[in-house]
């Protein structure tokens, strides 16, 4: 028998192995507890608020009467995040292309990378404050609180996330592909747009979706930029409601129906983000890189 050829595993090694396995399993369990509890409470508290009317009517603002639904908040979140994405994605991907294809190891590129890292760590309320001081107080655009100002704050928040994730994916594109294109006589910009970007696209989209998911749930940048209103608004120069703001406003009310609305809105938000994340996963799986 082969076991005769090798010394049997010692009892001490067996015990160490058991303890180590037990420890990591335990830690995984500990980490899972809050995650599961969050989802459990969200569903338990929020499911009661969910109905068709919940999604199709605006909040009424009434304390004692019918509190209405969350339509304006869903519309506002989608509109503001859409605008923020439209601004942050081209800029962020552009910065990433510059870093990987042109800046490379230059001093300026290192400085840019450093600032992006710093920006990633900036608390989201600071972006809100910045926009409040620069755009809201000065009534830029003829209004104080406005959706586009909220979107600006959200875009600032998304920018470093998009840039960093896009940079990582662009670095994954094999150099052999760039060389192949250069050797065919392709000019540099065409190599970037026709070869490098299409190859990296699924990864970039995944990064963008994760940035959107992160941004959609942020309250702080909207707190004193877009404010919170009840009615559905489509004008970017007006105040606009959003899911995080609606949750923030309602959850502290001494009125159970409003608190339930907050839970329902939270459940909606998490469901929306979950769908985005799933989409990101799907796209990642179809990626040809990594």
């Amino acid at each position: 028998m082969s076991s005769l050829a090798f010394a049997p595993v010692s009892g001490r090694r067996r015990r160490t192995d058991k303890i180590a396995r037990g420890m990591v399993a335990l830690l995984t369990g500990v980490a899972l507890v809050p995650l599961v509890l969050i989802l459990y409470y969200l569903v338990k508290q929020g499911i009661g608020a969910i109905s068709l009317d919940f999604f199709t009517t605006d909040p009424t603002g009434s304390f004692l009467g019918d509190p209405g639904g969350i339509k304006s908040a869903i519309v506002g979140t989608v509109l503001m995040v859409a605008l923020a994405t439209a601004v942050a994605v081209p800029v962020g991907v552009g910065v990433a292309i510059w870093l990987v294809e042109f800046g490379r190891a230059s001093k300026l590129a290192h400085a840019v990378r450093y600032f992006i890292d710093v920006m990633t760590g900036v608390p989201s309320i600071v972006f809100g404050l910045f926009v409040y001081i620069t755009l809201v107080i000065g009534n830029v655009g003829g209004s104080s609180f406005a959706a586009w100002k909220g979107a600006t704050a959200v875009a600032l928040l998304m920018l470093p996330i998009v840039t960093r994730s896009a940079e990582v994916v662009l670095l994954l594109v094999p150099n052999a592909l760039r060389e192949a294109a250069y050797a065919l006589g392709a000019p540099r910009w065409k190599v970037v747009f026709r070869i490098v970007l299409p190859t990296a696209l699924p990864g970039i989209v995944t990064g963008v979706l994760l940035a959107i998911a992160r941004a959609a749930g942020e309250t702080a940048p909207l707190l004193f930029t877009a404010a919170a209103v009840n009615a559905t608004a489509f004008n970017y120069n007006d105040s606009m409601n959003s899911l995080p703001m609606l949750i923030f406003k309602n959850v502290g009310q001494a009125q159970d129906r409003l608190v339930t609305i907050a839970w329902g809105a939270a459940l909606t938000l998490v469901a929306m983000i979950l769908m985005l994340t799933l989409l990101a996963r799907l796209i990642q799986r179809r990626s040809r890189l990594s």
């Binding site: 592909l177 060389e179 192949a180 050797a183």
Partner: protein, 292 residues
């Protein structure tokens, strides 16, 4: 390649800037006799002359005063141990060397009689005239077989017809294997097929010179044999410079062989002479397997 005259005319009409202003992209000259007999060039490619080439990677002096010429429609093999500078020489010829940060080169490299390193020469035009095939097959992963072959033309702002793709794929001996699945991804092919796809991609731009940097070293013996047969056939269209570690391969495919050692040219001559009766004792030791 069915009709080289037609190809040259098309190139002129679609790229009117090329012929008058930039000698590098002058359309290749079709040989008048269209019914070229076997072994006779279908179109006269251009010669390459390397004069006193020096190349560096940072402080490392990789090519030392190398002078070497490659005759039109001939295959030249560059042999030598690892690090002898074979790949660097090829990469200098189509100016891919300068893509590496810290790399530089001096000397002259003439395509017929135009220096590709002369000031004002467009590096893009140089690479259109001097194609390259790499050690590892590198088809574009996002593109179909057809698009891979068409990529070179599209990336250089030229229109692509089905005929050109077919001609290039035939030239690379791949047409019969892929004609029914041109829309399938290029990376779905086997390694050997991928390499022939890359050869087709390089041929589609109708270069005058084809540089092959160890094109078969990542392939199985059968695929290697196909690439070697291709080299023989492609001589009717292009001047070939092939880097190889495999001395039998050099002996099989090359008309001329150059032996490099430590960035210097030791000896160059007819392949038969290099392998049977070399002048330099180092060449003899290398080709008989005493070192390297």
């Amino acid at each position: 390649m069915s009709d080289p005259t037609h190809a040259a005319v098309r190139r002129e009409t679609e790229d009117p800037m090329s012929s008058q202003h930039d000698p590098i992209v002058t359309p290749s000259r079709p040989v008048a006799a269209a019914g070229a007999a076997a072994g006779q060039p279908q179109h006269l490619a251009r010669s390459v002359t390397v004069e006193r080439l020096n190349a560096w990677y940072g402080d490392q002096h990789s090519i030392k005063d190398l002078t070497l010429s490659f005759a039109p429609n001939q295959a030249t093999a560059l042999i030598g141990p690892s690090g002898s500078g074979k790949s660097t020489v090829v990469r200098c010829i189509n100016r891919m060397h300068e893509e590496i940060p810290g790399a530089r080169a001096s000397g002259r490299i003439l395509l017929d009689d135009t220096d590709v390193y002369a000031p004002g020469v467009d590096v893009v035009a140089v690479r259109r005239a001097i194609g390259m095939v790499f050690q590892k097959p590198n088809p574009f992963p996002t593109m179909s077989i057809f698009d891979n072959v068409a990529a070179g033309l599209r990336l250089t702002a030229r229109k692509v017809g089905h005929d050109q793709v077919e001609s290039a794929l035939r030239g690379a001996g791949l047409w019969e294997e892929v004609k029914d699945r041109l829309g399938k991804p290029g990376i779905g092919l086997s390694g050997g097929q991928q390499q022939r796809l890359c050869i087709a991609r390089a041929l589609a731009v109708e270069p005058d010179v084809l540089l092959m940097d160890e094109p078969a070293s990542a392939l199985d013996p059968i695929s290697t044999l196909k690439i070697e047969e291709l080299v023989q056939q492609m001589k009717s269209r292009v001047t070939i410079v092939i880097v190889t570690h495999n001395m039998q391969q050099a002996a099989r495919v090359a008309d001329q062989t150059a032996f490099l050692l430590d960035g210097e040219l030791v000896e160059v001559g007819a392949t038969e002479k290099i392998f049977t009766n070399p002048d330099d004792s180092r060449t003899e030791e290398y080709v008989t397997g005493k070192f390297g």
